[in-house]
């Protein structure tokens, strides 16, 4: 049974990949504090969260409208200079940069208009997608790390990602049907050696 070790390795790989996200659901904020408020396209408040504080968890994510705004403010516990920052969404670093902070400031804030955001970001914020986000600032004087969860708004069917997934699933099903239909007895030795096709 030479196939059994291969099957076990494959099964173990799948189990490991599935187990990873189950272990990553902590919310944390260290070295800094702040607040985030989201609004819809009309300017009505959708949600607000203090960091650190309750809310913006996986079970109770902060709603974000792809056509709305995000108003944020934050401050660090210490003056951080000559550092770098990064923002991670869904486990992927989506933005990063350097921070000089020659003025020695410890607070910042702003309003981000999501209507101007990159299209895939707007797609991700349609429906019920629950997305982990985190930010890190590290430099001379200290560091700051914060994380939380956001979710989209609107109907799931308004998301192109939903329809893309549905389309891929249908293609996969049709290919499976083709695979089963194509598994057959053939004459001669042309299809020998596993019949890879």
């Amino acid at each position: 049974m030479k196939r059994r070790p291969i099957m076990l390795v494959l099964a173990g790989t799948v189990a490991a990949v599935v187990a990873v996200p189950l272990a990553a659901s902590a919310v944390e904020a260290e070295g800094c504090s702040g607040s985030v408020t989201t609004t819809d396209a009309a300017g009505a408040e959708l949600g607000s969260v203090e960091v650190p504080g309750p809310g913006a968890t996986q079970a109770d994510p902060l709603p974000v409208d792809p056509a709305g705004t995000v108003v944020w403010s934050g401050s660090t516990d210490a003056v951080i200079t000559n550092g770098s920052w990064s923002i991670t969404v869904g486990g992927v670093r989506v933005a990063s940069g350097d921070l000089e902070n020659a003025d020695g400031e410890t607070s910042a804030g702003g309003t981000e208009n999501l209507a101007d955001a990159f299209a895939p970001i707007a797609w991700a914020l349609r429906g019920s997608m629950v997305i982990p986000v985190s930010g890190t600032l590290t430099g001379d004087g200290g560091s700051c790390h914060g994380s939380g969860w956001i979710t989209g708004t609107g109907a799931v069917t308004s998301s192109p990602i939903f329809w893309s997934g549905l389309g891929l699933g249908v293609i996969g099903l049709l290919m499976f049907i083709g695979m089963f239909a194509g598994t057959k007895v053939v004459a001669g030795g042309a299809a020998a050696a596993g019949g890879a096709s």
């Binding site: 990873v20 869904g90 992927v92 891929l168 099903l173 499976f176 083709g178 598994t183 004459a187 019949g195």
Partner: protein, 72 residues
Amino acid sequence: MTTDVRRRPVLGFFAGLFLGLGVGLVLIVLGVVPATIAWLAAPPIAGMVLGVLLAYVAPVRGRKGDTSPEPT
């Protein structure tokens, strides 16, 4: 006349990839699982493995009138 079984592991691989990716995307958009790179990768990987496995265990369709035993 000799007979062979034609199996399609490569087709099973890609069928599992597409089906897994589709299921993963739908589950993520529905909020059933979090939108992380790990959850995006897990269903296609599982699908590819299952697709190849299914290709090797799929029932064999014989030719009409073929009464010869299935090769092992």
